[in-house]
């Protein structure tokens, strides 16, 4: 059986699959269903613990044993009690925004070129990106620190952003490339036939088509950046992002504020994902 014989339109209809399947395998199916939920519960467990301890009425500096229920950590004066924690969160956000935008722009350029053109060096480039994606974060962080140490430059927000952009570019490029590869060239050619310059064609025709891929690349870069610990650990110098602050605080006890901020970030992320999901669904319906 070769791969070619398996070629079929993308987007298989799962419902159809379910319909074809005979009912007799119900037990195995039920077991798998239960198993899936078991794993999901396992995945959710530490998150639930984190959320719960954001409501723990601990009287002291440590927040590891359950004392009682309270909402007090959610009050702004409590939530932002640690100025450094607040600063760290802001720094994380700023770097994530900068890193996702810059790597979005640079990565789109690479992805577009690799998907659209055949050119000498494209193979080397793919290899470089593969190496960047599959390199251990530890090595990237350590080698960047080596570079900055060797050059005698300091480290700080700029070097964090440089590092985040570096490891995000390849991800954005890969996402954009795969979209550009399946692009229907005839649309671009039609635009050119109608007298549009390549520049106009790109911005008016091509870009809107690849925009969803660019967006998902940017979002991916944002997510990679805001949660990054290992690379940041090496390139942050005396500055602290949200994960770095938490790491430092483990030594002296994590205050409930961290749980609350973690919970809020979680809530915003989940809400954002749900909204994006609903919107793209309704978008598909109207199409």
């Amino acid at each position: 059986m070769t791969a070619q014989t398996l070629q079929r339109p993308p987007a298989p209809d799962a419902d159809a699959a379910a319909r074809i399947r005979p009912r007799r395998r119900f037990t195995g199916r039920g077991l798998l269903h239960a198993y899936t939920w078991l794993i999901i519960a396992w995945l959710a467990l530490p998150i639930l613990v984190m959320i719960a301890f954001g409501f723990n009425d601990t009287p002291g500096r440590y927040n590891t044993s359950w004392v009682g229920f309270t909402f007090k950590w959610y009050a702004p004066d409590q939530l932002f009690l640690y100025p450094d924690l607040t600063d760290a969160l802001i720094l994380s956000l700023v770097i994530a925004i900068v890193a996702s935008l810059v790597s979005g722009a640079l990565g789109t350029g690479i992805g577009y070129a690799l998907g659209r053109y055949r050119f000498r060096g494209a193979g080397s480039f793919n290899l470089l990106m593969f190496a960047a994606i599959s390199s251990p974060e530890l090595i990237m962080g350590a080698s960047l620190l080596s570079l900055f140490v060797s050059l005698g430059t300091g480290v700080g927000p700029v070097t964090i952003a440089i590092a985040h952009i570096m490891f995000s570019i390849s991800f954005v490029a890969v996402v954009v490339r795969s979209r550009v590869m399946v692009l229907d060239r005839s649309i671009e050619e039609a635009a050119a036939d109608l007298g549009a310059s390549p520049w106009t064609t790109f911005w008016k025709v091509t870009f809107p088509i690849i925009l969803p891929a660019v967006m998902s690349g940017v979002l991916l870069a944002f997510a990679l950046s805001i949660d990054d610990f290992i690379v940041t650990f090496f390139t942050a110098g005396t500055y602290e992002t949200f994960p770095i602050w938490i790491w430092g605080a483990t030594r002296v006890g994590i205050p409930p504020q961290v749980n609350v901020m973690g919970t809020l970030i979680f809530a915003v992320g989940v809400l954002g994902a749900i909204i994006a999901n609903v919107r793209s669904r309704s978008g598909q319906r109207t199409r």
């Binding site: 398996l6 999901i40 995945l43 530490p46 060096g121 599959s134 990237m140």
Partner: protein, 287 residues
Amino acid sequence: MSRLKRKIAPYLLVLPGGLWLLIFFAVPMIAMLSLSLQEGDIVAGYRFTGHWQNYTDSLSAYQTQLIRSLIYGAVATILLIAIAFPMAYWIAFYGGRRKGTYLFLTLLPFFVSFVLRTLSWQQILADEGPVLSPIRDLGLVGPAFHILGTPVAVIGGLVYNFLPFMVLPIYVALERIDPRVVEAARDLYANPIITFRKVVFPLALPGVFAGVLMTFVPASSDFVNSEVLGSSETTMIGQVIAAQFLDNSDYPTASALSFVLMVVLLIGVFTYARILGTEDVMKVAAR
């Protein structure tokens, strides 16, 4: 003129991002290689002397940790395949309209900071935490039984943190399989086990391959899980590298170890690609 433009267009597009990758990914590796061959101490400074003994010295001092890391990474990866496959299988074939929801639930941990969710496990698995206390009270385990500080906790943490990276690629591969192919196979072989072995699993292999790439490398170079959930008996090479870099400022040793780790992992990845990388698998993957 226009042909020339077409010729240089891809290079112009690739240039900014490519330079970024070159300067901040490739060049640092060289800086690290250089550091790994230097001699001195942090107060007097390090000088390049081609001191290759850094490699032999650090390897003989830390080979235990290096081998341990590779074993942990491998065990975690095998467990990940075993755990993720049934889940991905169920979502791909029986997820129905809720496929998106299930995938989203699989991704839940990503909405919580890596450091925070690992710390949450520390709380859950503590000797007097919510898991161990009841089973000890029931007399199921002895008073000295513990999970934290053992390889079980560390590998468990690795599996937890990287599970989505294994589920998603396997899901993507399975999801592309035409249910009719499976149906036909079942008619031919009539045995679901043989059908699975001869049809479903080979078609899912590219996904497993991608999953292994995305989990084995970060798992074996991780230092957070062992730091938070492990003990001195579970020290991984990532912790050694981080400690030499950041605690002891012993850059040559840290760089030498980083380089060895990267080379070992890359050899592993390439060999793996050679063995499993038959053309068929690659073609399916490339679709």
